[in-house]
């Protein structure tokens, strides 16, 4: 189990196996993720990288973060 919190998200590379998300430190709202997506990310938000989705969901719960639903029903 490993959780990596990155505050300066400047061309951070993730692999296809890693789970990550971005959140706004001020509002506690998750801006993107949790998702698996390889690539190089630059963002003004906080990035958290983990091995599993469960680790990120635990992080969200423990840090009182909020995921806003995008699907409209």
């Amino acid at each position: 189990m490993s959780i990596q919190k990155i505050t300066n998200v400047d061309n951070i590379e993730t692999t296809q196996d890693q789970w990550w998300m971005l959140y706004n430190e001020s509002t506690k709202i998750v801006f993107e993720g949790p998702l698996q997506c390889s690539g190089s990310t630059t963002s003004p938000y906080i990035m958290v990288i983990a091995d599993t989705e469960e680790e990120l969901l635990t992080y969200i719960e423990e840090n009182d973060l909020v995921i806003l639903p995008e699907d409209v029903e």
């Binding site: 998200v9 061309n11 590379e13 296809q16 971005l22 801006f31 993107e32 997506c37 390889s38 690539g39 190089s40 990310t41 630059t42 963002s43 003004p44 938000y45 995008e70 699907d71 409209v72 029903e73």
Partner: protein, 306 residues
Amino acid sequence: MILSLTSPQTIESIDLGTSTPRLSGVIDISTFANLVGLNANENDITSLGSFTSNPNLQEVRVTDNLLTALPSLTGNTNLTSVDCSRNNISQVFPDLSSNTNLRVFLCFRNQLSGNVFDISSNLNMNHFGVGNNNLTGTIPSLSANTNLKTYNVQQQTPGLTGGFPSIDNLLDIDIVNCTGNALSESLPNLSNNTKLRIFQFASNSFTGNIPDLSNNTKLQLFECYNNNLSGYAGGTITSKLSTFRGQSNILTQSAVNSILAAFVAAGHSGGLLNLGGSGNAAPTNGNSNSDKLVLEARGWTVIVTP
């Protein structure tokens, strides 16, 4: 639960509200001959009796219960709205062909099977949502449904097949969602859909180009990730489009460059542009791509193949 009243024929509306413990059992409205509205959301109702004695029925709201089937609606020609989302309804798609006044039909998160119902007879339909069911086959033509504002067939198991029908005639369409199916062929042309706000076509097998979005000036969310899209038709990006997820396609470097440039030209700040994932080409000069740097300076979150 039993409804027992001395003059049920005088009742036009029933709202069961919410209670603890939740109401359970069967709702039988057969004696409520003049009933117009039934609201029994968020209970533990297991069955609805027949609606054949309720010709005036217009609105039925029975979300978040334990229903396993819907009664036949063929005689309820005055129906305007049905919402039976989040139950355990496991039947073939109900026949709605006689419900020509229907404006809303929502049946999210059930186990409906068979084909998506052809709503070409439901010309008044505004909101049609049957996401998260077990529907199969192709999506019927939508060309007659010119009043459609939302159409949601997302996340069917094992997944809808074939192409997505033309939405050229849907001038009022606001939301289209077919994410999580097995749809193929090209994405629909969007040039007539000037009111389109949310476009979600992710996790299918679409091929060809991301369409020209120049006329979609109200577009806020565009998702086409996890497909086999290779190009971008070009055109301008509306200034309202702040979330674009196009990761995990097979976009060429030219397409990636053009999308980055289109967002730079749009001139707004603080959005999400995801062109990473597996399959997409890196932009020219990778992380040093000049358009990528401009977007990042404007507060965008940008993900690309490095």
